[in-house]
Symmetry: C2
Subunit: 191 residues, 2 copies
């Protein structure tokens, strides 16, 4: 997605250890106009009859809610990363390791929000090692719902998450795939 | 907001300890059409020249991003509840106690996203004891930005957060104010 790649080049900041900061427009401050274009692009890439969008707190939520508007306002469900008194129904759970936070945690979704009749699109901001996305796919599989595909805003093409997910036969679309930033320069995989 | 009150009566679930579950349409699964109406109502209540919306992860994000569309697509910034490698700039911080999660935690926002030139609207899903909202107001005050007001979807009128915030002279608007659910019955404060 050209608009997104241009924005990453303009406002993305490359840090040590392959960390790409896009916090000025995607995952701390959010550019709503850009999220709308991202939402339209996900609709173009997933024209199927989708009944629910699944994402994960926190950064995925803004992207998924804006995108849902281009899918006839279907409901958005977000997986939670910590228990609270508000989670008391039957839960679907999966384990995720976060490398940026340096810890392992469980993710949860109440079972009633993913039904076997559902056609699910998973949306998230980043795909690197695929931990979070694998966890979300686990939740969908556990619910018996039909996984239509996964829409990712930025994939790190130099980490193995994308390959692992595609090798499972999952329809994965990443709007920008960042290649290994050798010499500290950003470039994108041609799609 | 009548549509919201009707929805709370229809799909809200009252639990022991005054906990109101609205997870089927607001803070686990999100009804996008309802969020759009909520966004329009916030715009009606805050017609001022607002330059940024501030919210807090996780449930506030979907509400704030949809609402921002009715404020000329101004940027949405969300305060974070945990440190990560991605937070490395100058930070504004405040302390918050969560009663539903039973712990105290810091909230953060990168200083560069709230400037003294900004007119800020704070948006969040719930107001009970006012801890999260007080933390967000702290962040705005720490940045030197101008706080226009706070838009809350559901206020628990029988907890003291609303009173505390209003006593500070903050323009606080809650779209539904739930009164003390005696006999397990929900009713709303007339506004």
């Amino acid at each position: 997605m050209k608009l997104l790649e241009e924005r990453i080049l303009k406002d993305g900041v490359l840090k040590d250890g392959g960390i790409l900061k896009v916090d000025s427009f995607l995952n701390h401050q959010m550019d709503i106009g850009l999220l709308q274009e991202i939402g339209k692009e996900f609709r173009r890439l997933f024209p199927e009859n989708i009944t629910r969008i699944l994402t994960i707190e926190a950064s995925g939520i803004g992207i998924a809610t804006i995108a849902a508007q281009y899918f006839d306002n279907i409901p958005v469900v977000f997986a939670k990363k910590s228990m609270s008194k508000n989670l008391d129904g039957d839960l679907l759970t999966s384990k995720v390791i976060s490398y940026t936070k340096g810890l392992e945690f469980d993710i949860f979704v109440e079972k009633k929000f993913l039904s076997p009749d559902d056609n699910i699109l998973i949306i998230d901001d980043f795909l690197a090692n695929g931990q979070a996305l694998n966890g979300l796919i686990d939740l969908v599989n556990g619910s018996g719902a039909n996984l239509i595909g996964c829409g990712i805003v930025i994939e790190k093409g130099f980490q193995d998450g994308g390959q692992i997910i595609r090798d499972k036969g999952v329809h994965l679309e990443s709007l920008a795939i960042v290649e290994d930033p050798k010499d500290g320069k950003l470039c994108f995989r041609k799609q």
